[in-house]
Symmetry: C2
Subunit: 317 residues, 2 copies
Amino acid sequence: VAASLTRVGRLLSGDVRALARAMSAVEGGSSSEAAETLQAVYPRTGRADVIGVTGAPGSGKSTLIGRLVAAFRGRGRRVGVVAVDPSSAFSGGAILGDRVRMQEHATDPDVFIRSMATRGHLGGLARATSDVVDLLDAAGFDPILVETVGVGQDEVEIVRTADAVAVVLVPGMGDDIQALKAGILEIADLFVINKAEREGADRLQADLEAMLALAPAGTSRPPIHRTVAARGEVVEPLADALTALLLSGGPRRATRRRERARARLLTLLGERLLERVGDEALTARALDRLIDDIAERRMDPYTAVQGILERVRVEGR
Amino acid sequence: VAASLTRVGRLLSGDVRALARAMSAVEGGSSSEAAETLQAVYPRTGRADVIGVTGAPGSGKSTLIGRLVAAFRGRGRRVGVVAVDPSSAFSGGAILGDRVRMQEHATDPDVFIRSMATRGHLGGLARATSDVVDLLDAAGFDPILVETVGVGQDEVEIVRTADAVAVVLVPGMGDDIQALKAGILEIADLFVINKAEREGADRLQADLEAMLALAPAGTSRPPIHRTVAARGEVVEPLADALTALLLSGGPRRATRRRERARARLLTLLGERLLERVGDEALTARALDRLIDDIAERRMDPYTAVQGILERVRVEGR
């Protein structure tokens, strides 16, 4: 316990090695070290602004985030980045291409970049991301930029509850590429038309405005910003706009934080329940047999689950 | 019960209205109608070949699938399509663009296309997709093509356990767009270079071959096919190759079907456990209070979950 308290103390004082170690523990899953660390730091979280940045692969999100990091650093802030996007330049996930193109902040101790491993979180990607954001928050990083690709189910859930959400679009990428997950446009607090020097930027803006005009009267309309992130153009006003958004957050922010707390509680509960019931209700051999029965169509999964649930008792509320 | 047996009987005889209705029930979630239907049809499933088709948005997966549907129809097969990809032309998910571009099979009773609603499955997208595949299988559709975007966490899990997996790539889309989820190349049984008339097809093929050459000796190397799906070019040989792959499936197929059974059992169990414990351990008011405590940082989610788990008893195995 003493050792873990020291570790937590180092993390809270902003020690990046303690931070990196805690992150590896929470990413790994259910170790008690991870739970203890998060329990210890939790009261010191909730201070950082969480900014979600989402868009299709190829929209230049990572480059834009690199520029935003520089803008926030210029304002004296310590900035965290969590890249959940497998195509992110931060995660070096590009296949057949350059592995890591964005290293300019690599030597700045006041910038901490973490890319989430995109495998090994079976169902727990959202949980692991929330934990990593908490650790950055506790270590004094603020704002924290969370990059997700606007396509996957989990990925959208992750960004949905950020304090502010920027959706990045690009002119002329073709409709099918721009096609984001249903509902992603509705969660935008702000739109960015990146690569705005390209042909089609005016049309994209007009299309967006037409779409936004359909929103019910009284709804606030998300502003549209145009950037050329690769050249660093018009990024400062974007950082200003995000800052203003976060300051004026008010009731919407409270709602989102509640949603985030809810999603967090339920995903963690689901994960733990599955672990415990898996361990306690069935031997490894019985589980294997059940899986064989399902694979061979001797038993359907619904009946199998019913059988397991019959062994679970929940004390009255 | 009589009514539901009739419904199941109609489904098994291939009645598409009964099929569509059962799909809506399973997509809706935990209704007992859905569970009863799946329990009833499960012994009649496992016959269809499930072909996963995945790739980045913009790779032309839907167009390719449209062509494959025609090719399999030409061989007298009844074909099912499940589009999990929000950018799919089948799901009409394109934003700011044409809603549905692929209607050529809409009037063919031996083609059944279902696009999965991309919201409202919190954690259950994989479960709902498996259920829909089973229903198609029970209704006599074979093969069943499952289209997912090769980016999201859930989406990759879904396609990973298909009997055969085709990964679709496109020349000259830029590395970041091509960037698929880590691990997606490893699950490919077959690669398709679509839009192969474009510049860069040779280089993409050379890059792919170089990457595949790194595989350990003795591993089978996935073949690479070039198609121009928009013009229907070279789709017949692709359908042949997929058919051959499925016929030779052997041990790998058995492994995947077991993996599929395992994932299915666990996701369904997780879903049901969360439902039951949520209902029985906490009143709605207590849950709300807990969420408030977490949002206000008075309690961390790990401690909250521990408290709930203490009320759960699992009978010995």
